[in-house]
């Protein structure tokens, strides 16, 4: 049974890609509501696969995944949007639309799910304020720094009040100072709204600085899971 406090439950999850690569072996994992979790591991360790399985970009070959009460494995393609509406997803490459302004990029997420225009305005401005970009609503993405662009992406991820924010190496393209800024924004969101954050990263400094729960994945297996952990070189 899934306890109410568990937002994410993975049971005996295995993932083998069609090309024969085994990405995840026998993964059991529970993440509670309101947690902030770093998923760390080297390149090809399977941490991106784990994140992708959580938003149903990939399906596990074996095992069960529940996210916010939704059985992700059994979710039909045509219903995936129901899961995605409960999630905010942040990528390494920001994935903004270059022809839309900052405001429009964030509002796009609400337009795509058919929100009312009055609602779109209020929520968009609130999200942009939360990431500290209220003064740049009319700028286009290419007029912003990398850190600012990633903050726009975060604003887009949180604009629909998700239960869970999934971040796949959000600081991968940023310098250390900006990276810190981004994780601070995520940390603030986690603290003020209680939104659960799962962030895949291999940024040592950040992990060591924030003292959050750390899940270490190595060659597709969960090798360590510690509260207030730090980036342990030997583990990777």
């Amino acid at each position: 049974m899934i306890l109410l406090s568990e937002l994410i439950t993975l049971t005996n999850v295995n993932k083998k890609y069609k090309n024969g690569v085994n990405a995840i072996y026998d993964l059991d994992l529970k993440i509670k509501k309101g947690e902030f979790v770093f998923v760390i591991g080297g390149s090809g360790s399977g941490k991106s696969t784990l994140i992708k399985m959580l938003y149903r970009e990939e399906k596990p070959t074996k095992g069960e995944i529940f996210v916010g009460g939704i059985n992700v494995v059994k979710l039909r393609n045509s219903r995936v949007y129901k899961l995605r509406r409960k999630l905010g997803i942040v990528f390494q490459d920001y994935r903004l639309l270059p022809k839309l302004t900052v405001y429009e990029n964030v509002a796009f997420a609400l337009e795509a799910i058919g929100a009312k225009s009055s609602e779109i305005r209020i929520k968009t401005l609130r999200a942009l304020e939360l990431v500290g970009l209220k003064g740049k609503t009319r700028n286009y993405p290419d007029e912003l720094s990398g850190g600012e662009q990633q903050r726009v992406a975060i604003a887009r991820a949180i604009v629909n009040d998700p239960k869970l924010i999934l971040c796949d190496e959000p600081t991968g393209n940023l310098d250390p100072k900006m990276s810190l800024e981004i994780v601070k924004v995520l940390d603030d969101i986690n603290k003020t709204t209680g939104t659960t954050v799962v962030m895949a990263t291999h940024d040592k400094e950040i992990v060591n600085k924030f003292k959050k729960r750390v899940i270490v994945i190595k060659e597709g297996r969960l090798v360590k899971d510690y509260e207030e952990g730090k980036y342990d070189n030997e583990a990777i």
């Binding site: 938003y55 970009e57 393609n77 995936v80 949007y81 994935r95 795509a112 799910i113 058919g114 629909n160």
Partner: protein
């Protein structure tokens, strides 16, 4: 409200993309126009052939004579047999020798005097059946079938040119339908490619829409509407050509008749509007089907 907003945005995006991929859109629209023109021709021919057949079927009669001296039992058998022939209209007319003698009497004085001389009419007059068919196109086969019965002396029908002509029109109509189907398939492929280009130019947008939780419907909508618009624009020219072309053609005929009483064309009103509606529906459906096929692949998550 939500649905309305979705459709509104869809229409806006669709028009934008038709405009953006102008050359390919024009190609699709032209292709659909040509296809629909052939479809229109096929429909006009097919409907008119149907009309000719119905008219001619009522008027062309297979006149059948039985051999002399047939027994009542044989006659009953014969009637049962022809009733079982599928193409035979059930309202056939029977003329017994006595009836035929009386008919002859009524022709004129001379024939009447001849007829009165005949007192063994069963040995002089054949039983005669006037048989109409349901489908004039198959009249030749029906005639042969009747002829093949042993008790039949002869079976003929009048205007053979009419039935040949109708058969010719029928073949022409079927060829036109065949060409139309081939063209429709080509058009669908062209539309698939047009829409794919649109999708390609918007794939980033689509991937983000999927990530933020847009339903498949929302993502599909603009493309389906784009296909709809292509179909709609593509059917304008064929409809105009159909309406004015058929009216002009009808105007050249002698009150709708061509060469013979039986070749009566259908009155343009409201016929051309029915054909136009069919064309419009085909155009729109082909357009939407093409775009639906194109999007499908991109919606697998």
């Amino acid at each position: 409200m939500k649905l309305f907003r979705m459709i509104k945005n869809g229409i806006r995006d669709a028009f934008k993309s038709v405009y953006r991929n102008f050359s390919l859109s024009i190609a699709s629209i032209s292709c659909i126009s040509i296809t629909l023109m052939v479809v229109a021709l096929a429909l006009l021919v097919a409907f008119n052939v149907e009309n000719f057949s119905k008219k001619a079927g009522d008027n062309v009669t297979i006149v059948t004579y039985l051999k002399l001296g047939v027994s009542d039992e044989e006659i009953a058998n014969f009637e049962k047999t022809i009733e079982n022939i599928e193409n035979v209209n059930k309202d056939w007319k029977k003329h017994t020798p006595t009836e035929r003698k009386n008919e002859l009497k009524e022709e004129n004085d001379f024939l009447s005097s001849v007829a009165t001389l005949i007192d063994n009419e069963n040995e002089v007059f054949h039983y005669r059946y006037d048989i109409n068919v349901n489908d004039i196109k198959k009249i030749e086969e029906t005639k042969k079938e009747i002829r093949s019965l042993t008790i039949v002396d002869s079976a003929e029908y009048g205007d053979e040119t009419i039935s040949r002509m109708i058969n010719m029109f029928d073949v022409a109509g079927k060829v036109a339908i065949g060409i139309a189907i081939v063209l429709m398939i080509v058009t669908v492929f062209l539309i698939i490619n047009t829409i794919k280009l649109t999708i390609f130019s918007r794939r980033r947008e689509i991937s983000i829409m999927r990530v933020v939780g847009a339903s498949n419907m929302t993502i599909k909508n603009p493309f389906i509407i784009e296909g709809f618009i292509i179909g709609l624009l593509g059917s304008i020219v064929p409809i105009i050509v159909t309406i004015f072309g058929y009216k002009a053609f009808y105007g050249m005929l002698d009150d709708g008749h061509f060469m013979s009483f039986w070749l009566e064309f259908i009155d343009p009103q409201p016929f051309v509007f029915l054909v136009s509606l069919i064309i419009l529906i085909i155009g729109v459906v082909v357009g939407m089907f093409g775009s639906g096929r194109a999007v499908r692949k991109y919606l697998k998550i």
